[in-house]
Symmetry: C2
Subunit: 226 residues, 2 copies
Amino acid sequence: MVYRRTHQVVKRLAARRSAILAAAREAAAEGGMVAVQIAPVAVRANVAAGTVYRYFPSKADLISELIGEVSRDELAAIRRAADAAPGPSSALAAAVTTVAVHTLSQRKLAWGILAEPVDVDVSASRLASRREIAGEIASRIDAAVRAGHLPAQDTALAATALLGALHEALVGPLAPDNLEDPAKLRDAVQTVTLLALRAVGVMDARARGLVVQQTVLPAAKALVGA
Amino acid sequence: MVYRRTHQVVKRLAARRSAILAAAREAAAEGGMVAVQIAPVAVRANVAAGTVYRYFPSKADLISELIGEVSRDELAAIRRAADAAPGPSSALAAAVTTVAVHTLSQRKLAWGILAEPVDVDVSASRLASRREIAGEIASRIDAAVRAGHLPAQDTALAATALLGALHEALVGPLAPDNLEDPAKLRDAVQTVTLLALRAVGVMDARARGLVVQQTVLPAAKALVGA
DNA sequence: GCAAGAACTGAACAACTATTCACGCCCGAT
DNA sequence: ATCGGGCGTGAATAGTTGTTCAGTTCTTGC
């Protein structure tokens, strides 16, 4: 044995791997999942097509990791926002708002992660991604129920429905297309969050209050690209 | 000119066209959109692959018509149910329930029509399909708002969100998988309808009443395959 | 019956990309 | 400096399906 990976090489390999993943993410953010093709991604990452296969067994693995990464980021953002809230209802509002803002600020990426047709099978990682996010929302609903702020209900189903509503309204094919305008963007976030909160049983007046409270900071964040 | 299409031939051509479309629909209902491939569909319709192209310029056209057909059926069912209701709120409840029941009773087909990845571009017809259904729901919400039963709101966005919630909760990847059981099925329909009605601002108690009122007949219909 | 033309057939074709692999280069150890 | 082996390359390969089209069968009008 006359060859051992030196620390420097290990770092370079890791960097290259990240570069490929980052290239895939950029491609997805710009052109959706259709744009995540091996050859273009390789070019963007400054490597040859074959090199991609030194790091990812297949395109499905690459995309799966991409989905996982984006999903982890979003989950962390949701937790951060919700944990900073003063109570269970606020936490739920914050969580929902965060999803809405994230989704809106990277529409193409969100659509790609969630539902865009892909030629390889990534249903497993999409399922995992949804499960994580939905689970988090469900536990926030649950907390609000336990605190007596919401009626008892099937929280898992409710969380799934909420996410469906957010996604369809914000990045689905019928989503308003003029959301470049920051004011419209904030309106959309508020409207959809309000719907979501009412759906799980928050009283209308209270829901409005929570929504207003929660959309100021996140909307600002969205504009700086967080 | 020594050849003219006789009435009999015209009828045979129309029948064949319907047979191909029906074959495509069956294939989609059984195996989703992936199962809608020219060769298998042709076999099912008892014609050769090339014949399909005598009736549909391309696979995209075939699938687009399939989407249109299913969509028209659903729209008609929604209108029928809503028009039979005694008032605007009941009509909305009926419309939502109908969507839920239809979606559930043909899950694979619904998923295929709505969101399943397809190799050809059918986004235009999917868009049209969603637009029709969402428009109908929106106008029902609007009627309820005008009647003073609901707060003023962006009805188009609300309708879109409602449909997203229904679809995600009932046929999305996180949908409960034990909905064969009629009782569970009815529960799911009720739960999701309740969420939807509350989302647009129906008071909780009233919403429960509307839901119970609306799920008896449609659930029965679903079981006989309507 | 027969000619003309339409409808049907299904094997061959085309196009698109993920994936492979034989070769060359660079890095680490001596 | 140089040897050994992993790393990178990118042109060639492969597999999948939609689509075509030359030949065959069927239908019509005389």
